[in-house]
Symmetry: C2
Subunit: 262 residues, 2 copies
């Protein structure tokens, strides 16, 4: 095991590749963009890429590999998508069948990897702008909710948008819109703030994913489109074969957060 | 023939559909976004969509249809991509074989239509901002040049970026960067200004497409990524079958220019 965590993109990817690191990537290599991973057979890739094109808020594509090519050339030259994440999830017919530290034995010539922008990018920008992130202080992961907002479908891929929620002091809510709105390739501005029932969320204390978070009457709940959306939509289509990152164990790219600005 | 040109998106599309309009769309329906059209068989569509994702400056995708579906739902509900443009070009093995006013007889169940942002959008914004467009005053089409900047390839699709050139008074060049930079889904900010040889253009008086344009020593040439790029790249791959709009005869969407802002 590592005594000290690797803290730059190449070091994190190398340590993952060599089996020396399999932990979550949150808080590591601050300032470098991390990405959600989704891998599908070529047969499903066009429909999925069109889905992402139609739903850019939850699914901002930052890289797509050539079929069978494990190198994500646009985001990390020389990296290997099969080994350079700390932890993966492998699905068959929509069922989780394995959670390996590499996917070399699962790789096929027809697989296409999609890298999708991640909220860590705009959270770094929020912290730099003096905006509080309660879930960091409370030590949990951000709470996520399935909304009643339907994504625009593409072929077999359809389903509701998943959002993450961050409470914000009312006086800072507009600043939070401005700061996150600068990063359209990392979910961008929130899709809603205020009354959760307006987007189909009945009970903030019972998130569908992540950890509930407490907030005060001086704070307003703000909702951002979430990278869990494409994973949920993908799984609901019960693909014969799919691979994703394990939650929180992202691909750390060589892009700067600023590269995901408009 | 029409006495008066149609001047809103639905009227232009309807007149095209009914065979009453087959002219260029420049200057019509100002404030509504127009789009380049590229149609390819499904077999080539994934590679082409990945090409566009990798080259967003020349190829900003604003809509992709489902295979076989002629309705571009994201940009003009109810429209029919087979009839609603004034004039098309049909290619077989990369050779122009027809220039029809509709493509009903060419339509197939495996065709995917791509709509790509158009410089008319940012030109409207430039005019609103008081920036001069010499090619409008001189009555020609904008001059376009093949550069030495290679696009990032995807499968069979590769080639150089084509740029359009607009001369700008030096004092207004920065404003032109700012104004066009607000429209990343319509080519966005220029990719270069000044010395044409820096991007492989030897002679501004001999454009590869369009009309040469005169300018003075007080003006600087500014270069924007151009929607001719994806067409050129597509044709160089000699696809078995492809359809595009005829130059200047664009698809007029229901989107506002502002919808193509960041």
């Amino acid at each position: 095991m590592l005594i000290q965590k690797p803290d730059n993109p190449a070091a994190i990817r190398n340590a993952s590749r060599q089996g020396r690191f399999s932990g979550p990537t949150g808080g590591l290599a601050l300032g470098k963009a991390q990405a959600n991973l989704a891998i599908l057979p070529r047969e499903a890739a066009l429909e999925f890429l069109i889905f992402c094109q139609r739903n850019p808020k939850p699914c901002p594509i930052i890289d797509v590999t050539d079929p069978g090519d494990p190198e994500p050339k646009q985001t990390a030259k020389g990296a290997d998508i099969r080994t350079d994440l700390p932890l993966y999830r492998v699905y068959k017919q929509g069922q989780l069948v394995d959670e390996p530290t590499d996917i070399l034995s699962y790789w096929r010539d027809d697989l296409v990897a999609f890298l999708i922008g991640c909220s860590f990018t705009f959270e770094n920008a929020m912290l730099s702008a003096g905006l509080p992130l309660n879930h960091h202080r409370q030590g949990g992961s951000v709470p996520m909710y399935i909304t009643n907002i339907q994504c625009t479908p593409s072929g077999r891929f359809s389903g509701p948008m998943v959002v993450s929620m961050r409470p914000m002091p009312l006086k800072k809510a507009i600043k939070a819109v401005e700061v996150t709105g600068r990063y359209p390739r990392a979910h961008g501005a929130p899709i809603h703030w205020g009354d959760p029932t307006a987007i189909g969320i009945e009970n903030l204390a019972q998130p569908d994913f992540g950890t509930p978070i407490s907030f005060t009457h001086q704070e307003v709940p703000m909702f951002w489109a979430c990278g869990v959306t494409p994973q949920t939509v993908m799984m609901e289509s019960k693909p014969a074969f799919a691979i994703t990152h394990s939650p929180g164990h992202m691909f750390v790219t060589d892009l700067r957060d600023e590269d995901l600005m408009s």
